[in-house]
Symmetry: none
Amino acid sequence: MEKILEYIESNQERFLEELKTFLRFPSVSAQPAHKQDMINCAQWLVGHLAGIGLETKLIEGDGHPIVRARVKGTSARRLIIYGHYDVQPEDPLDQWLSPPFEPEIRNGKLYARGATDDKGQVFAHIKAIEAVLQTGQPLGGEVLFLIEGEEECGGTVLADYIKYEKANLSKDALGVIVSDCEMLDENTPAITYALRGMVALEIGLKGPNRDLHSGTFGGAVGNPAIGLTSMISGCIQPNGEITIPGFYDDVSPLEDWEKENFTKLPSEDEQLKTDLEVKSLLGPSEMTSLEKTWARPTFEVNGIFGGYQGQGSKTIIPSSAGAKITMRLVPNQDPAKIAQVVKAHLQRICPDFVEMTITDVFSTQPVLFDIKSPLIRSACEALGEGFGQETAYIRCGGSIPVVNTFSQELEKPVLLMGFGLTSDGAHSPNECFSVATFQRAIKASAALLGKIP
Amino acid sequence: MEKILEYIESNQERFLEELKTFLRFPSVSAQPAHKQDMINCAQWLVGHLAGIGLETKLIEGDGHPIVRARVKGTSARRLIIYGHYDVQPEDPLDQWLSPPFEPEIRNGKLYARGATDDKGQVFAHIKAIEAVLQTGQPLGGEVLFLIEGEEECGGTVLADYIKYEKANLSKDALGVIVSDCEMLDENTPAITYALRGMVALEIGLKGPNRDLHSGTFGGAVGNPAIGLTSMISGCIQPNGEITIPGFYDDVSPLEDWEKENFTKLPSEDEQLKTDLEVKSLLGPSEMTSLEKTWARPTFEVNGIFGGYQGQGSKTIIPSSAGAKITMRLVPNQDPAKIAQVVKAHLQRICPDFVEMTITDVFSTQPVLFDIKSPLIRSACEALGEGFGQETAYIRCGGSIPVVNTFSQELEKPVLLMGFGLTSDGAHSPNECFSVATFQRAIKASAALLGKIP
């Protein structure tokens, strides 16, 4: 292990330069215009992994390709490491202090779209395996990377692949490592044992067959944008309480150890208000933000649109309006059931002057893992070694659909060891990743690779 | 009057050719590229009016010039005729069946941008004065044309001129004729005796200082798009009922003759549903659409925006959201008072997790003219003579800012006698003007000129 740590430390500068190269690809999976950038990024990754000594393959399906890379170990046992090379769209571009695809280090942080989500995190594992291989250390079992390009756009190529290769992948597998989540704070590593699920829908309301003069028609013809606001108000109160009948029915109550754990974890509510420049937070004051974001379901409007958005005024009744909606679900809520409950409610409250379409965008189950599993225990130790701090057990408010796929298809434990922070600004302008965390994460990953039985 | 009618009939072909020449100028006031076309069009008009025998002047200010032309009568009394020579942009060009600035007659209609709005309508008055002058008929008073070039771009040159020349213009004035509106149907002339006013506002809600990951923050941080929907729902019900306290306080009830008049006018509700492809109309079923659009105030969302609007999904809590709002006001509602009432209500219902800004965009007073005024009575008779049909009294749901300017500055009646139809497609591709209406309008205008006391 000493040789490995030395290797990691002496190659830190090069590792950072390589990560910058990885970040320069504008691999925005949701936007068709970036299709070639996606291919370029995947091919670069294949070349990089092959250079380290892994057997690589680009798996192409109908969507963006999967990068598969493996190296055999002394036993047949297999550790799967998951990551994604695709990133969120970069807008609003004018809020970035440095261009999103021109990585820049400022105050110990590397700024770029994808820095923390997920290029920086998955690259730490890549550099860990490089350190193990290049220092000639034995690997206890096979290490298999599956790095997809559809995490941010809800594609199914990886899920299809996992289902197709299910028998081969699960045979002898110890479990799956997913590093696409967070630490407790900048110094404290964490294992995430629960994720929220999600249901994403798009609502479209069609009114008159064209935009109408609001003087000539106003009062006689219903306005789809007003219809939309009334429908959304019929789903959620401004205080965050969801008013869709049956929505909260299956929410699991917290276990006692979790309640205790939540109260021990530091409350960041005041800091959050300051950081985000908001006067007040949402929801019941007796719950901390951790409990609200980890253990309570939500209903969010991610985007709303309709009518004229240019400068000045345009006196129209818009022909249509729409909203992108995501609901975060907590353990024991079933996305299919929630989608049904929500759609039935929307149908019920839809004004009769519009025609509604509801598009299913995607959905994913909430998950909850047993913190007593052997893989989670090994990881807890390895993180402690890499970071020099005791590991915390946390939940995560986000959803990682692939975790469900791995968990359901392979029936093996999934280990969520994240290296990100909320303040890294995933999905936001000025996304970043700590340079120090990058190095510690490489060390922690290398320590975990050393523990493959 | 017989000689005049004969003159109008025998010169019909030439009148149409001249109107075509007027329509060939691409006098698009909103587009700087057409600045020279605007000047060319105004100069042509000056030349044309001088040729008929009027004393003309091009009034130039910071914007597009005003064409002023007058001819004295036997008395000092003055009738002002308003019009505009500027037109809307022609786009979408690919939807025109014949080029917008190459006038073409098909099935009794003259197709060109500006045909009905407003070149055809104002040119009817010009040909009427020509007929009176060329046939040597006496004019009871002065006729003064004010034909502006900024109606479609919201310029202030004419309003500035009216304010500046207020004393001279109002002295001895009988009133102002505005023909930039509609008839009841293709055969029935109409006098528009009321217009709705307007208050236009823009609401902006600012939440967190950046777009946030809806998994990490959802449940703890308020969503401005949800705040906005709750606020709009707090202003208006989906059935169109405005729930802002005090909003309806000053709405004048309809007079008995109007109620009776509204029920006599043909209801177009079924046709409207078919044309617009909507299943149902808005508002109380006991009111016709005419009453709803003419005599009831509205609250419209002209545009709503916030968060992600691109393809697919982006799981964020948007940093901000906004809406463009216009309210149409009816006689006796005061825009300043309504703006105040609405803003106070918005402040009251604004969730505390967002900061709101309200921008005043513009406002205009509703107007209501006494149909018993001598000018309106004379016009009613003249229209009947020109069209061979009884004149209808109608309101209009829209606003014509210049009508307010004339009415407030000169304190004289404004006569709204329109020759257009909704189906003429003002502001739309394939704008047209009926050739038969053009001739009847010239006759009606000539008849009105003969009635100047």
